[in-house]
């Protein structure tokens, strides 16, 4: 004889599925009693048996949630105990791992001679894949630790207890590594004022670049058969590119001096710095990559072929150039932002 399972049977079945074996029978028996009492109370109040059962189960709510209530489980992936440790670790991983993997892939693809679209596409792809993986595995690890718990690691004897190490043990909030005031960050001094040293250094660097451009024309180290110097840079660049370069260098000095005279960084100095950097980097790298920058006679005289080694050195040099210029642009905006905040705060 088979009977159709009642709603109560179905509810208890769902509840048992959501309960670990150890507690299954106990919780099911308790809830069975609870349901029966609730149904009886409703029938006594005048409801029909069917309606009473339905209403009683409705009141109990989602069996998964009920099981969690009885087991004392929290319905969250990562609770407050580990949330901050999870967030700190994830942030550190994202800002260190993503740029380094993307950078490594760009370098490798450039050396392999892929075209620019493929290089950029590859960098975006690897950033997404690595980013998703970092988020997933870190969160999974913390969710497991949060659910099943870990015993605190025993203190290692002989380990120096520097604030930095204690900062690391913040990942283990159950252990000895509770948060302490030693972990407070030291506020970065807001470099609102442009120091004279910075202005002078920038000027000196510009002068060196300008001198180098002029001096290489009269290269004292390399002469051709007729005794005339062989310049490093292609002499045909003097028609436009080199005067342009000298002009930009002069402009850079002017901006630095203007920033110094104004006394602090501002948005317009950051923008001007970005424009100057782009104006020098984009044509520069283009000339560099097409091989138009270096004097063919110089290459011949030194006796190097355009071998793979030269090509790879060229790629690495180009990326370093782009990286330095990129950082200089970002740094300009960071200084401007910090200055703005510090000055705004004082107002």
């Amino acid at each position: 004889m088979t009977t159709t399972p009642t709603l109560t049977d179905r509810y208890l079945y769902a509840l048992e599925r959501a309960t670990p074996e150890r507690d299954r029978a106990g919780i099911a028996a308790e809830v069975r009693e609870r349901i029966a009492d609730a149904i009886d109370a409703r029938i006594a109040a005048g409801a029909s048996p069917d309606a009473a059962e339905r209403a009683a189960l409705d009141e109990l709510g989602d069996p998964d949630r009920l099981a969690a209530d009885y087991l004392g489980r929290t319905l969250q992936l990562i609770g407050p105990k580990y949330y901050l440790a999870w967030w700190r670790l994830l942030r550190i991983l994202l800002v260190t791992v993503l740029p380094s993997t993307a950078g490594a892939l760009v370098l490798a693809n450039a050396i392999a001679g892929r075209d620019i679209g493929e290089i950029i596409g590859g960098a975006i792809w690897v950033t997404i894949v690595v980013g998703v993986n970092l988020c997933f595995w870190t969160t999974l690890a913390f969710a497991l630790v949060d659910r099943y718990g870990v015993r605190p690691l025993p203190a290692l004897p002989g380990l120096p207890s520097s604030p930095r190490l204690r900062g690391l043990s913040a990942l283990d909030p159950t252990g000895s590594g509770a948060w302490s005031v030693d972990q407070l960050p030291v506020p970065a001094p807001a470099e609102t004022r442009v120091s004279r040293g910075q202005a002078i250094a920038s000027g000196v660097f510009a002068v060196i670049v300008a001198l180098a451009i002029v001096v290489q024309q009269f290269n004292p180290f390399l002469h051709d058969a007729a005794g005339a110097p062989i310049p490093l840079l292609d002499p045909s660049l003097w028609s436009l590119a080199l005067p342009y370069l000298l002009g930009i260098v002069a402009l850079h000095v002017a901006i630095t001096v203007a920033t110094y005279l104004q006394g602090r960084y501002a948005w317009w100095t950051a923008v001007a710095n970005a424009i100057v950097n782009l104006a020098i980097t984009i044509p520069g790298i283009w000339l560099w990559s097409t091989g138009a920058l270096v004097n063919p006679a110089f290459v011949e005289a030194v006796g190097i072929d355009r071998t793979d080694t030269v090509r790879i050195v060229g790629i690495v040099g180009g990326l370093v150039w782009a990286g330095v210029a990129g950082w200089d642009i970002v740094d300009g905006f960071l200084r401007a932002a910090r200055t703005e905040r510090a000055v705004g705060g004082r107002r």
């Binding site: 028996a29 308790e30 009693e33 609870r34 029966a36 009492d37 609730a38 109990l60 209530d69």
Partner: protein
Amino acid sequence: MGDETTEGHLQELRRGTVVLACLVRLRTPGYGYALLEALGRLGVKTDANTLYPLLRRLEQQGYLTSEWNTEESRPRKFYRTSPAGESLAATLADEWERLSDSLRHLQDES
């Protein structure tokens, strides 16, 4: 200010008192639904979804003991306050008195 926020604060205030009420009431053994009814009649507001899991937790913590009663038509789990539960109840009751006094002083002062 909505009634919802008021209700939330009231729930916060009542939360710990349900434990004390259970421990005192269960000096004489009782089962879940009877306790729910009794507390409701006595004006200790609580709902079934709080009370039943609470009973289970107090039992696991050793403040209640339990026994299945199979004499009636349906088996029911009867809870009873353990000696540890008695001493917890005494501690909670003392704290309740102390807080009550403090709050009264606070209100007299202002």
